[in-house]
Symmetry: C2
Subunit: 260 residues, 2 copies
């Protein structure tokens, strides 16, 4: 195992659930001996990837990670274009907008557009969630080939919230529905009482794919309002697909043909 692999193993121990770790935590999480942990933690601290609270002695991500994190996709055309459009939809509807990317079978929130209806933001940027449990996560998965999806979902199907697909077959059924309708919907999944609608956008130029979703309180919205969100999203999707040269893959055409 290379030093870099070990370093990454330590860095991956940090998450929004565990934003700082003690020496013992790191040892337990990585299973590495004391001396190795000591050396590595020191290197990471010295280079700025981690910092250490002088009082509690706990470690947390450092200034360098902050600086680099700010650089990530800072000049990404696809994202800024999508964000601009999403901002307008959120301003009109008052709901909260999300932009996310797919990583394995999880999605990571990249951008949030807070709505005027103050729905507490529980998914800040950087948040990682199983893609099958969110509307835009499923929208992104739906644009992959069936083999690719199968390869991404862990062999032991993960335990997902109540209203998310509970096994691979249910998941594929929902993805097929998204392929048919072009829009993905969720309600009462990761967060109780919260619903969302989303779609996936794939740049024709770079092949880069992002998920775009609008989120709202299920209780506080009417059926009509949700239909309005659907119209807004469909219009935004059409516009963005035109601007980015996103042609819905032949995969979808095949899937449609198969299910008809």
């Amino acid at each position: 195992m290379s030093a870099l692999t070990n370093a990454i193993e330590i860095l991956r121990c940090f998450s929004s659930a565990r934003p700082d770790l003690s020496f013992a935590d790191v040892m337990a999480l990585t299973g590495k001996p004391k001396s190795s942990t000591s050396r590595l933690l020191r290197s990471l601290r010295d280079c700025g990837l981690l910092e250490q609270d002088p009082h509690t002695r706990r470690y947390r991500p450092g200034l360098l990670t902050f600086e680099l994190g700010r650089l990530h996709r800072a000049h990404d055309d696809l994202i800024s274009m999508a964000e601009r459009e999403l901002r307008e939809v959120c301003a009109r509807t008052g709901h909260t907008g999300y932009i996310a990317v797919l990583d394995g079978y999880e999605q990571v929130v990249l951008r949030i557009v807070p709505g005027s209806n103050p729905l507490r933001v529980v998914n800040p940027p950087g948040q990682r969630t199983p893609a099958l449990a969110t509307s835009n996560g499923r929208a992104m998965l739906a644009r992959l080939s069936d083999e690719d999806i199968r390869a991404r979902v862990p062999s032991t199907y993960p335990k997902l919230p109540r209203n998310s697909p509970q096994n691979f077959k249910q998941a594929m059924a929902r993805l097929d529905e998204i392929r048919r309708t072009g829009l993905s919907e969720a309600a009462d999944e990761s967060i109780e009482g919260v619903g969302s609608q989303g779609f996936a956008l794939k740049s024709g130029e770079t092949g880069e794919m992002i998920g775009i979703a609008v989120s709202y309180s299920v209780q506080a919205t009417t059926v009509a309002e949700r239909a309005n969100v659907r119209r807004e999203l469909t219009a935004m999707a059409a516009k963005l697909r035109r601007l980015t040269g996103d042609q819905l893959d032949p995969v979808i055409t095949r899937a449609q043909a198969g299910t008809r």
Copy 2:
């Protein structure tokens, strides 16, 4: 040189001025041979610290850096308390607020509070600037011992903007002034036409230090308005010092005594 050191050397090549790099760029910037660069770049990409544009083949910070970056000081009490107060001052005055930390002889912007007077934000979070060229940078330096300051400033004094101190002696004179008045001021330095006032806050509990500043257009503000900002900042400083147990160090008393 360890693999980690090399990895960091590559990561440090990225900055807001150079948010993505080609293979050749990395080779030139690190001076490493082709094979080493290839191996390392691949490792960094595979572990998610970098990603590669499939079209242009250029490298940029990856998803993992984004996730970790979001975790950096996410639950930092000193910063959230300061941000809360700064938000109020910015709402009252309409100016833009900054929170930064010191790293060596540079400062890094951590948080921005946009003002209502839309002054284009040229210093986004993550931005690195010589501390001697900003108001809160100098405010933070002023709270260090003279030896510490001397150790941080490079032996060949850096080329700073017109109105910043042009040599070590001038710099120390400005820091001494900050030590006397407790407030730091800047005008037409890093950015032409922009002025700012700031101070440094140091937690009595953790020893952590941050710089807090308010920034405005010099042309668009009157002397009276700048005096108002001074009053606001002085009041905020007093309140935050009380809340965080920040006692202005004896160093300052000594400096005061020395200059009197």
